[in-house]
Symmetry: C2
Subunit: 336 residues, 2 copies
């Protein structure tokens, strides 16, 4: 898709980041300026129809609030959890959106808004956002890890999103890093996600609490309080103070993430690895031990030429990347 | 590089597979027919100059024996161990070729033969051979594991060799599969190569012999006999009979190779994984447990759409792939 640059510069597109907890929708100007942004709870528990209605209402509200003429909006890009059929624009199934089975979201939104709609995997959208407007501007060979509740990934090769044979590429969180490791949500054992995602870290801490190991720094009286107090920030702080309960687990979480990045360095030899998501708030406290692990494990020339950085778009990587799907030539069909 | 097809069909190219033990050189006709093939010992211990002389002599002999007019030969492709500077055609360093440091092999052969010369990583050449003439014909999205003394890899994306940012992609043997595993030749611990290469398997068996574990099926009186009798075929046969010494090690070798393939399936979602090298003589005895491991670990849709096959070119994948570098549009410069 190549669009005449002059006409594009005047135009806008809409990016939507559909998550299990929130829907973020934004009207974005060419070159990544957010004109109007809305964040509403997904309320996934109310069912598929209610969530689709919320997506539609939020986009309409975006347009009205922005006072931009719908004719100046070239389309809608959606980053959604998968598995997806990107070619057809269908969400096949989404673990965090109960009842979503084979939902033709592209067609639904095209009918509603009468504009072009593109569906993309949420981690690919985040990678694309960082590639177009964030840490990876001008980098054609980039791998993005989305480190949140789960761990996803997006791979940019030759300046395009790499989808693989049937749109299943980039499942970086499901690299097996320890064959006898803890069970992962995907059914496998010892996935990166089971060690280094927020959920993985918290589950491992909870298991140790059950085993009777006490924390010197984290305090809670009930299960609810436990969940609440187990915020990543507090966990990392406790670990740094040498807390018995958390320090091994945090150390392993970083070590396994380093192994996964080293594997990516040896397999794909990218120019850049971009990390996005909650855990990246740790900044250098994350990056320094991570780089050490990668240096020890990857081929030296692959390590030396690799920039390992934190994304620059914070919570907006997904929504900006989704909007950018409409403008910037990429590859959003699978290769198979 | 696009060559007029009619003129190409009449032409030949020369493929060279430069290994630590043997040099294989062949004159190859368009579409992969080997017209003349020579295999000579590398004699790497005699030094760089002697080996280069042998390469040149072998190619000259190829041309003379084939009776093909040098004017009908469009060039020479070389698959060589790395690290290489593919752009400049320089072998930077090769662990199995003592004394080779920054050897401008491309220029040396261009000066000698006055024809186009292309240098490529040996595992990439093997992958390219299988892609052009072997198991991967018509497959645009393919990953090849070369399972020999070491483990290498070649990645084909969109029908082209994928080199990564500075020609370091495809080091599949150096995926960390067990963070606390045995030390690998690369300096890291727990690489796939340390478990599943011929050397890895043999080293692990030797270590167990030192620990006093005896084999019921493999017999040897001295260290030399031990090395000789430890042939992969005998090891796998003994393991299948339930041999105490070998069965765990063979099982782990296959299991870790399965994990590496599952990781590739989740990261790259290729259409095909092609296995080449000595261990593939085991055929279904290798493939069946390997596929089981991948099925248990990879995302189901990534596993289901993935063909895991043994290469069809036996020992000629490298030499055919090297020859094909001259004809078939690929990408032999790095992307960085």
């Amino acid at each position: 898709m190549v669009i005449d640059k002059k006409s594009v510069e005047k135009k806008y597109s809409i990016g939507v980041d559909l998550g299990g907890t929130n829907i973020v929708s934004a009207i974005v100007k060419y070159q990544g300026k957010i004109v109007n942004r809305l964040k509403v709870p997904t309320l996934a528990e109310r069912g598929k129809g209610a969530t689709i209605k919320r997506i539609i209402e939020t986009i309409h509200k975006n347009i009205v609030q922005s006072t931009i003429a719908p004719g100046d909006i070239i389309g809608i890009g959606i980053g959604a959890p998968g598995p997806l059929d990107i070619k057809k624009g269908i969400i096949n199934f989404a673990p965090n959106l109960p009842g979503w089975r084979d939902v033709p979201l592209k067609k639904i939104l095209e009918d509603e808004f009468n504009m072009k709609v593109v569906l993309e995997n949420d981690a690919n959208a985040a990678a694309w956002g960082e590639r177009c407007f964030g840490a990876g501007q001008g980098v054609n060979n980039l791998v993005c890890f989305t480190l949140g509740t789960g761990i996803g990934g997006g791979i940019i090769i030759d300046g395009k999103i790499y989808h693989g044979n049937n749109c299943g590429a980039g499942e970086l969180g499901h690299m097996t890093v320890n064959k006898d490791g803890p069970r992962c949500n995907c059914g496998n054992y010892g996935c990166l996600e089971a060690y280094s995602s927020a959920t993985g870290i918290k589950n491992r801490i909870k298991n140790r609490i059950k085993e009777g190991i006490k924390s010197e720094f984290l305090h809670f009286d009930s299960d609810d309080e436990l969940s609440e107090s187990l915020r990543l920030k507090s966990i990392f702080e406790a670990a740094r103070k040498g807390d018995r309960l958390t320090s091994d687990i945090v150390e392993e979480a970083i070590s396994y993430l380093g192994i996964a990045i080293a594997n990516i360095a040896n397999i794909l030899n990218p120019e850049m690895v971009v990390l996005v998501g909650g855990i990246t708030n740790e900044g250098d406290k994350l990056l320094i031990p991570l780089r050490k692990e990668v240096r020890e494990r990857a081929f030296y020339s692959n390590y030396k030429s690799l920039k390992i950085v934190i994304g620059k778009l914070a919570g907006n990587a997904g929504v900006l990347g989704a909007a950018a799907l409409l403008w910037i030539p990429n590859n959003y069909s699978c290769r198979g």
